[in-house]
């Protein structure tokens, strides 16, 4: 054994080395397991030293303060844990609601309902009636779903405009287990030439493009949203203004952003 290092070992056990010396000893112990045993013995001797001092009974106050601190931390931990538990069902909502879903039937039904709704709105030619139209669309969907008892209903999520376009509103209608959904939107402004609306599905990894959205003269638009992942895996949907042809990532103003 290295004589110099050997001289340091007792002082390492006593916790009385400089940082540099400590590093030397630790490196030495890593390379020489046989010295580890010797060190353990020395440390066991040094760890008995506190018993050489006559014990001093602490005032009750110290324990009271300690346990108060501990209880506060336990309570905080429990609060965080409860919050997490409360969030979990929300994450699983899609999965728990629709275990077995016939994608073909539902998608056709959904598109049919949406088209009806859009046609109705166009006939009325009144943007102010769009809210009612969307309600009607939801009712239609419910009726259709009621007529299809063997299948699960589609999920409908309300979409809201941001401060940039507060009048924007719409719905995303989807089967959580599929990779596609129908987006119907109204109240969007006409864009200047060279710009387009782009739809984004957002998960922990960030936004993923779900397609470009064209709106008509009434500010209404319809898009079959598609993705590599199932819709239920996303946390939010956003719509931004992008240059024609779309972007890899959102670059322009966000006009719609809603949790899924």
């Amino acid at each position: 054994m290295d004589n110099k290092i050997e001289e340091l070992l007792p002082f390492y056990a006593l916790g009385a080395l400089t940082d540099e010396e400590k590093e030397l000893v630790e490196a030495y112990l890593r390379e020489h397991p046989e010295a580890r045993k010797q060190m353990d013995e020395m440390q066991s001797a040094s760890s008995a030293l506190p018993y050489g001092v006559a014990p001093v009974e602490p005032p009750r106050r110290v324990k009271g303060e300690l346990m108060k601190r501990v209880s506060a931390e336990v309570e905080a931990r429990e609060r965080v844990s409860k919050q997490k538990q409360a969030e979990r069902p929300r994450e699983r909502r899609w999965a728990s609601l629709f275990p077995a879903f016939s994608l073909g039937v539902a998608t056709v039904a959904v598109i049919w309902a949406v088209v009806l709704n859009v046609q109705l709105a166009r006939l009325q030619n009144q943007v102010s009636l769009l809210g009612e139209a969307l309600v009607a669309q939801s009712n239609s969907l419910e009726e259709i779903n009621a007529k299809l008892p063997q299948t699960s209903p589609a999920v409908t999520v309300s979409l809201k405009g941001t401060e940039a376009q507060p009048s924007a509103h719409g719905q995303l209608i989807a089967d959580q287990g599929s990779n596609s959904a129908v987006l119907v939107i109204a109240g969007l402004s006409q864009l200047e030439a060279g710009k387009t609306y782009q739809v984004w599905l957002i998960d922990a990894g960030g936004p993923k493009s779900a397609g470009l959205l064209t709106v008509d003269a009434n500010g209404q638009g319809l898009l079959i949203v598609t993705s590599d992942l199932t819709i239920g895996e996303f946390n939010a949907l956003g719509i931004s203004v992008e240059p024609d042809g779309g972007s890899e990532q959102p670059t322009g103003e966000i006009v719609v952003l809603s949790d899924l």
Binding site: E7, L9, P10, F11, A13, L14, G15, A16, L17, T18, D40, E41, M42, Q43, S44, A45, S46, S47, A48, L49, P50, Y51, G52, V53, A54, P55, V56, E57, P58, P59, V62, K63, E65, L66, M67, R69, V70, S71, E73, V74, R77
Partner: protein, 202 residues
């Protein structure tokens, strides 16, 4: 903590209690506190020399034990060894911040300070019984140690003095200090084994 829980905890080892603390069991921490707080406070008080600061170190030691019990590894030594190292390091830091040594090196030597105090007669609670026994054994072992060896060990452990500082303070050669520390620790270990001391490693 309810009486039944206290009794249950008294039957388990420090190491088992430490693993319970690591899982967030505050009752286990309370039992460890009842067992070892008086030793931790004694060490802190000896190092710092001031009651309030020593009590702060006591609370901080057990708070750190609570927060980092999961880092304690039984295979690397006893729980008390781990706990006392936390206390000792905190106390030396606190002492250095205060920058006032409670005793001079000469006073340490003359007062024979490891042996100069008697246990508090009011500390006769169940958790303290084992501590009192260990206290008696270790004091006996230390009393049997050559004074020069005990002095080097005490200056290093309780005062955090380096080898060079001890050599300077005592006027001895560095080689002599090395030998005294090594022989002193060896003797403590041998004597404690003879005493069948259960509170140390291995």
């Amino acid at each position: 903590m309810r009486l039944r829980e206290r009794v249950a905890f008294q039957q388990v080892s420090d190491e088992t209690l430490a693993s319970q603390v690591a899982r967030g069991d505050s009752g286990a921490l309370e039992t460890l506190y009842d067992r070892h707080a008086s030793t931790v406070l004694a060490v802190a008080l000896k190092i710092i020399g001031e009651q309030t600061a020593a009590e702060d170190v006591l609370q901080e030691t057990f708070w750190r034990a609570w927060r980092s019990a999961s880092t304690y590894r039984q295979e690397r030594g006893s729980f008390t060894g781990w706990l006392f190292r936390i206390a000792r390091n905190l106390a030396i830091d606190a002492y250095r911040r205060r920058n006032v040594r409670p005793q001079t090196v000469l006073e340490v030597d003359e007062a024979d300070s490891l042996l100069d105090r008697i246990p508090d007669p009011d500390s006769n609670v169940a958790e303290q019984a084992q501590t009192a026994l260990m206290n008696q054994r270790v004091r006996k072992v230390l009393a049997g140690l050559p004074r020069a060896q005990r002095q080097v060990i005490e200056l290093a452990y309780f005062y955090g003095m380096t080898r060079q500082e001890i050599a300077e303070a005592t006027g001895e050669a560095l080689g002599t200090i090395h030998t005294r520390a090594r022989l002193g620790l060896q003797k403590i270990r041998e004597e404690l084994e003879k005493e069948d001391f259960e509170g140390t490693d291995g």
